[in-house]
């Protein structure tokens, strides 16, 4: 009787184990589908082509480092913007001075080591080190007071004052500084060896890097929170010439290539799919040093004149003819549909009206401002890296201004030559309008502060000695935004900030651009990019094979 009972208990246990293990096995099988083939991506630049996150800037990190590294805070894949990453959630203490990040369990590095809060702390310390080339190293050093590992899955970060935007700044949607590196491995092998044989926790493992030519990765074969790759290998090729990239996609040597708007039509005519990623950038123009006393008599010091110049721009023409129809009317400065704590719909309606084309009204405004016959305007035309089409946009804008009587002295700069002009006193830029750009990011305040804060590099509203009403108002709103925890109040403050900038017409969006890719439908299946994210580093693992999900005809 006792033996029968034991057998029954065993039988029951086995039955439960089998019944539990079957769905689990099925789940695992579903999570790790058969991986085959090589996904080849041709890109115009590999930036520094280093696999050490502290030595690479944002574009390189987003293009290729993202494949093998996870970020502490990740993406909202569907909507764009900030979402869970290595940390599945995070919270702010009541006093607003401590952020606690909860690391998701069960993650591992490519050598099998577990991903823990120790790695997160170590990674941030590396990013903040004096030898780090991370663009926000100094800002992180200033804002982060201390870090404490509470347990293997909990990291506490104390900040020097309220830093509401800290999680966003550690998200790859915004910046590269949240990349998680393996503490134990780096401490064991040293930095030099780590750079030669890097290890991350992302869906792709490093295989090799051929300088100036390519990077090769191999897919992991276990489930990953970002998705388990469907291809066995990933090759990212450096092909600087756009026509060569498109040819490679047409011949099947590459599955995907980054392209510019001018190539979209020919790529589509050649039988390729063309993917447009919405809201990746905003092309704009801005006025420099309009606040300076020596510019007080300049036409550009008058908001009505600046507004008139905006009304003279036929944005639809630019979208249609310069951008081949693959761009859209912009939101206000540095704002996108996915921008957080921002009334996107309300402001889009405002922008559609404010950024209309009305040359008659523009001329009338100029006349009212005392310039019935126009005036002379110095215009610096330039393109930031990766968006060369900005020069064409700038040329079109200058041409439209001449039609309302403005004599435009246009000078085209290579970005490397223009950039130093905005440093320090900006003597050569005072009274000049120039092209500029903002990339698609969900956190608006940082970008606003970079352009309008009195202590910022660009300080378009004013600086320490000449900080007028708008300049002071902006600093006040920005400081309040940094500390505001309540979502609704934060949105109110953002609205105030956007209105302040919009009413001054000092930095004016021209178009909202997109990221463009030519795709060979025989080499890769249909996939969607992350809204607002130009680079595909966080998308490769979700790309299906051509058989799995063919492109719709």
């Amino acid at each position: 009787m006792r033996d029968r009972q034991i057998v029954s208990v065993w039988a029951l246990a086995v039955t439960i184990a089998v019944s539990l293990s079957q769905p689990l096995a099925a789940q695992t099988q579903k999570a790790t589908p058969a991986q085959k083939g090589t996904l080849v991506f041709a890109v115009e630049s590999l930036s520094a082509q280093t696999l050490d996150p502290i030595l690479e800037g944002r574009p390189g990190n987003a293009t290729y480092q993202a494949a093998m590294y996870d970020s502490l805070v990740g993406f909202d894949i569907a909507k764009g913007g900030v979402g869970p990453g290595v940390a599945e959630r995070w919270e702010l203490s009541d006093d607003g001075l401590t952020w606690t990040f909860h690391i998701r369990a069960g993650q591992k590095f490519h050598n099998g080591d577990k991903v823990t809060a120790h790695d997160a702390k170590f990674s941030l310390e590396r990013q903040m080190a004096p030898t780090s080339l991370a663009s926000a190293a100094a800002t992180l050093r200033r804002t982060i007071k201390s870090m404490e590992v509470v347990d293997d899955l909990t990291l506490r970060i104390k900040t020097d004052g309220p830093q509401i935007g800290l999680p966003a700044s550690l998200s790859r949607a915004v910046a590269p500084e949240g990349a998680i590196m393996p503490k134990a491995y780096i401490e064991k092998v040293g930095e030099e060896e780590f750079r030669k044989k890097p290890i991350g926790s992302g869906p792709w493992k490093f295989v090799r890097s051929v300088p100036g030519d390519r990077l090769e990765f191999e897919a992991i074969d276990y489930p990953h929170f970002r998705g388990t790759p469907r291809f066995k290998n990933l090759h990212i090729l450096l092909v600087p010439e756009e026509s060569t990239r498109v040819s490679m996609v047409r011949t099947g040597e590459a599955a995907i290539a980054s392209i510019g708007p001018e190539t979209m039509r020919s790529a589509a005519r050649g039988g390729l799919e063309v993917l447009s990623v919405p809201g990746t950038m905003q092309a704009l123009y801005q006025f420099w040093g309009a606040f300076r006393p020596d510019q007080k008599d300049s036409p550009i010091a008058k908001p009505r004149v600046r507004e008139a110049l905006s009304l003279a721009i036929d944005r639809q023409q630019i979208i249609e003819h310069v951008m081949n129809g693959k761009a859209s009317m912009p939101h206000p400065f540095a704002a996108f549909e996915y921008t957080e704590y921002f009334n996107a719909k309300t402001w889009k309606a405002w922008a559609d009206k404010a950024y209309r084309y009305d040359p008659v009204a523009a001329k009338k405004m100029l006349a009212e401002a005392g310039y019935p016959n126009g005036f002379e305007l110095n215009f610096a035309n330039t393109a930031l890296p990766g968006t060369q089409f900005m020069v064409d946009v700038g040329t079109a804008v200058a041409d439209m201004w001449t039609k309302i009587g403005v004599k435009v002295n246009i000078k085209t700069y290579e970005w490397g030559s223009f950039s130093p002009l905005q440093m320090g006193e900006q003597a050569q830029l005072a009274g000049v309008a120039s092209m500029y750009r903002t990339v698609g990011r969900p956190d608006m305040p940082w970008r606003y502060n970079g352009a309008f804060g009195s202590k910022s590099q660009q300080h378009l509203f004013g600086e320490k000695e000449h900080c007028g009403v708008e300049c002071q108002e902006f600093d006040k709103i920005y400081a309040a935004l940094l500390a505001e925890r309540d979502g609704e109040k934060r949105t109110e403050l953002t609205d105030r900030m956007v209105k302040l900038v919009a009413d001054t017409w000092i930095a004016i969006p021209i178009i909202e651009g997109m990221g463009y890719y030519a795709i060979n439908p025989r080499k890769v299946g249909q996939f969607a990019a992350i809204p607002g994210r130009h680079e595909l580093g966080d998308v490769f693992e979700r790309m299906p094979s051509a058989d799995e999900k063919p492109w719709k005809k």
């Binding site: 041709a42 930036s47 520094a48 082509q49 280093t50 050490d52 030595l55 800037g57 944002r58 004096p130 030898t131 780090s132 080339l133 663009s135 926000a136 190293a137 100094a138 800002t139 050093r141 200033r142 910046a175 750079r195 051929v210 300088p211 100036g212 030519d213 390519r214 090729l237 450096l238 092909v239 600087p240 010439e241 026509s243 060569t244 040819s247 490679m248 047409r250 011949t251 040597e253 050649g270 930031l384 890296p385 970005w415 490397g416 030559s417 950039s419 130093p420 440093m423 500029y436 750009r437 903002t438 990339v439 940082w446 970008r447 502060n449 970079g450 352009a451 202590k455 910022s456 590099q457």
Partner: protein, 305 residues
Amino acid sequence: MKRYIVYRMLQGVVLLCMVATIVFFLGRLTGNPVDLMLPEDATAEDRVSMIKALGLDGPLHEQFLIFVNNALHGDLGTSIRMRQPAVEAFFDRLPNTLAIIPWALLMAMVIGIPLGVIAALNRGNMIDRAAGSVAVLGIAMPSFWLGILLIYVFSVELGWLPSGRMGGPAHYVLPVITLGAFLVAGFMRLIRSSMLEVMESEFVKLARIKGMSEAVVVWKHCLRNALIPVLTLWGVFVGNLITGAIVTETVFAWPGVGRLTYEAVIFRDFPLLQAVIILKAVLILSINLFVDILYAYVDPRIRLA
């Protein structure tokens, strides 16, 4: 001869010092790499921090003295962008450039030299004009246009050859043709004029009087003498190819030193730019010295002079 070589080497050292000084200061006039590495919303604080991390914070003359001191110890600095020793980066890429240059030269000589001889033999008639047209075409066609055209025809339309990048023998065909097209024209024109000059020489007349066959006169006696100026041109061409393969390497995504130079300029990677220019100057000076010495052996008149 030894004195001549030592003199030329000293000249080379002086030239290298001048090149290094010019490239150091000229590069820094064009901007700062930090401005290209930072995002649009970077703060002034971030900028200062990065400048310091890259060692670009000292006064220019101090940076120059450090550069000279390091260069004298064989260290041309570390690439700002790649964080790799600049000399190492150069020598990583040099073999890739050198892999196509001999083929481009061979192609140029195999086509250009016979074409030049044929043109000289048919001076003024249709064949000469046709050969001249080939030369003009080779010189006039921009290499980026020719490269893209070749890719379109042979890769996209016919599917015979890969579009670019390093790989097996098939990957060499289009870059070599693109690089060699210009040289074909150069060799053809030089051989033609040189042959015409030699064919008027007394020794050629004597060879004909002696009853030698026309083929021997042309291909043995005339061509051998006409090839002497080609030797000089060969040296110049190799130098030009090492420094000037930028366009071909860019169009065909070929990771050579030409593209490395372009990247160093675009990213304001000063240490890399300095190293690349100095090392290229060393290469070109060495090739020219080698050609001059060779020339002196081939043509005794040079040695005597």
